[in-house]
């Protein structure tokens, strides 16, 4: 019974999106210039911030997982803080840090980088709110890998760097992938921090969630269509993660 209630409560709104919009309307409203701009912008900014998160976050997560030092708990807590920060607060925090009047605003400006109300600002906001999802998960994945595998790699003539690439990363891969999917989902849906830090200018900072908000009082069909695209993307990400985990389990090394 409780399962039925939960299922209904969780699925009816999603179903509503697809029932409320006919496929023909969906396609035609997606063809509008503004919608295409929003989709393209979301795709670009999300891809860039995920790339940044992977490149910087992976070694950082490995170091945090493999080294122990004084104050490590504090560092980990600081890294995880954006997870629980309300998005509006994250936006304000970014403004206060790297906005024009922020503590590092001068330095950023001196470096010739303009963040507020620009596409780069969107990337900063997305990276800020979604990186902890990846780093946290990656740390857990690395920590779960048996250290003796790395020892074995070394006794077999591989340098530590080679062991990291050939053993650590592949063994931790299911965990890394699910962390990436979580970060991806969070970045795609990012609203509050982007709005406050980068604003909502069509083609520049108006990502899909912002475009949905922008339309819903004036052009509900178009908002529905964009929402349907986000639902489809999120579902695809979820399925991809399940596939990675399932594939690993079939390969027989998850349980190892």
């Amino acid at each position: 019974m409780s399962l039925a209630i939960a299922l209904t409560f969780l699925t009816v709104p999603v179903v509503g999106i697809f029932v409320g919009s006919s496929p023909a309307d969906l396609i035609s409203s997606l063809g509008e210039r503004g919608s295409l701009d929003a989709l393209w912008l979301s795709l670009r900014t999300t891809t860039i911030s995920i790339a940044i998160i992977l490149i910087v976050g992976t070694p950082a997560a490995y170091l945090l997982a493999s080294r122990s030092f004084r104050g490590k708990a504090l560092v980990v807590t600081l890294i995880e803080l954006p997870l629980v920060l309300p998005p509006a607060v994250a936006g304000i925090a970014l403004l206060a840090a790297v906005g024009p009047a922020g503590i590092l605003g001068g330095a950023v400006e001196a470096a010739g980088i303009e963040l507020s109300l620009t596409t780069a600002g969107v990337v900063v906001a997305l990276t800020f709110v979604s990186s902890p999802f990846y780093v946290r998960q990656a740390m857990a994945a690395f920590a779960a890998v048996d250290r003796s595998l790395l020892d074995a790699s070394r006794t077999l003539g591989a340098s530590e760097a080679r062991g990291f690439l050939r053993v650590m990363i592949p063994v931790a891969l299911p965990g890394l992938a699910s962390g990436m999917a979580l970060a991806l989902g969070r970045a795609l849906g990012e609203f509050g921090a982007t709005l406050m830090f980068a604003g909502s200018f069509q083609g520049v900072t108006q990502t899909v969630p912002l475009a949905i908000y922008d339309r819903f009082s004036t052009d509900f069909d178009s908002a529905l269509a964009l929402s349907a695209v986000l639902v489809a993307l999120s579902a695809a990400i979820l399925l991809a993660v399940k596939f990675v985990h399932g594939g690993a389990a079939l390969g027989g090394w998850q349980a190892e």
Binding site: D146, S148, L149, D151, A152, S153, R154, T155, L156, G157, A158, S159, R166, V167, P170, V171, L173, G251, G252, W253, Q254, A255, E256
Partner: protein, 361 residues
């Protein structure tokens, strides 16, 4: 030739050991858990740097803390078999074995790896991942991987302890064969003296970070230098061929002569174990009396006092050890060179089958 000297503090343990192993020889370090056995292997492999240490392999210095020499682990040619095998779970059996062969082309790597697996009777499992291999199969993959780089030194950490009892007897025999065929000096550690005796040409007993005694297995059993060694060496192991008789007892014809009986059921080649304190000593002239079924005529080779007990090293068709009280020694007037009768009950005689037929793969 491998020599390892190390002084280090590892957690609560103060390690202070020096061992040397000749080419083709296997030295088995046996001791309780926490004695520092694994640390010795890790120092040899370069995975643990001792405060003071010297590691030399075949004339090459791998570590000399005084001279400031330290060859990194990846440049020491050690074949290391880890306690839980540490197989790479994302690679197949042959890819695990081929991991150290990265300078070769893909085809040759596969051929070499599969060849090694075949040598260990695992050719048809080459494409399986560790997750789908049995314990015994994993152990052989780990061994093949350790041998793949043609190591100058073999290091084995409890290579059999992760196996169930049924698999272990067969695996022990196979490992003994591999060790015999390997030119490289081998250093093996185990918590089980019987295993050390079966696999090591020499055995070193290690306790609390120190090697308390080294020697052949029968030397250690016959003349333990301390109560610790006497207790740790435990049972005397004899080998022979078992046959079940109509009396319901198993008769074992000992290799080298003599026959004993056991209440255990077994057929074919067996290892027979009996504890030294289960063996009673009588003057050789004594007529058979009492309930002891097993009687062997032996010579007293050595007498070692351990507290209030005396460990007797005995020579029969195979070396044997008995433990008796000082009072018994005085009463019987025992001395080295004396011929006596060693006797024990059939019920105190444990049998373990050592043929391939009695084990599962």
């Amino acid at each position: 030739m491998l020599s390892v000297e190390a002084r280090a503090t590892v957690g609560a343990l103060r390690l202070d050991v020096a061992v040397a192993v000749d080419p083709g020889e296997c030295l088995a370090l046996a001791g309780p858990s926490g004695a520092g056995k694994t640390s010795v292997l890790r120092v040899a492999a370069g995975l643990l740097r001792p405060a003071q240490g010297l590691v030399e392999a075949n004339g090459e210095t791998w570590l000399d803390t005084e001279g400031g020499i330290e060859v990194p682990a990846e440049r020491r040619r050690c074949g290391y078999v880890f306690q839980d095998y540490a197989l790479f779970p994302h690679l197949t059996a042959w890819q695990n074995v081929a991991y150290p062969l990265r300078r070769l082309g893909r085809r040759e790597r596969r051929a070499r790896a599969v060849g090694l697996l075949e040598r260990l009777g695992l050719g048809e499992r080459a494409d399986a991942r560790p997750g789908s291999l049995s314990g015994g199969e994993r152990q052989r993959v780990a061994l093949a991987r350790a041998l793949a780089r043609r190591p100058e030194v073999l290091l084995l950490d409890e290579p059999l302890s992760a196996l169930d009892a049924r698999t272990r007897a067969g695996a022990t025999r196979e490992l003994a064969e591999v060790l015999r065929a390997t030119e490289a000096p081998a250093l093996l550690v185990t918590h089980d003296f019987t295993e050390a005796a079966q696999l090591g040409d020499r055995v070193g007993i290690i306790d609390a970070g120190r090697i308390v005694q080294q020697g052949t297995p029968s030397e250690l059993a016959a003349t333990p230098r301390s109560a610790f060694v006497a207790d740790f060496t435990g049972a005397v192991v004899l080998t022979g061929t078992a046959r079940t008789r109509a009396d319901g007892l198993t008769h074992v014809e000992l290799d080298g002569g003599g026959e004993v009986v056991s209440a255990d059921v077994a057929e074919g080649a067996v290892a027979l174990s009996v504890y030294p304190w289960e063996i009673a000593i009588e003057p050789a002239s004594e007529r058979h009396h009492g309930s002891a079924q097993n009687r062997l005529s032996v010579e007293v080779l050595s007498m070692t006092t351990i507290g209030n007990r005396v460990r007797l090293g005995l020579a029969g068709s195979q070396p044997l050890a008995a433990e008796v009280t000082q009072a018994a020694v005085d009463q019987l007037g025992l001395r080295t060179g004396a011929m006596v009768t060693a006797s024990w009950k059939a019920a105190a005689t444990r049998l373990v089958t050592t043929t391939a037929g009695g084990t599962t793969r």
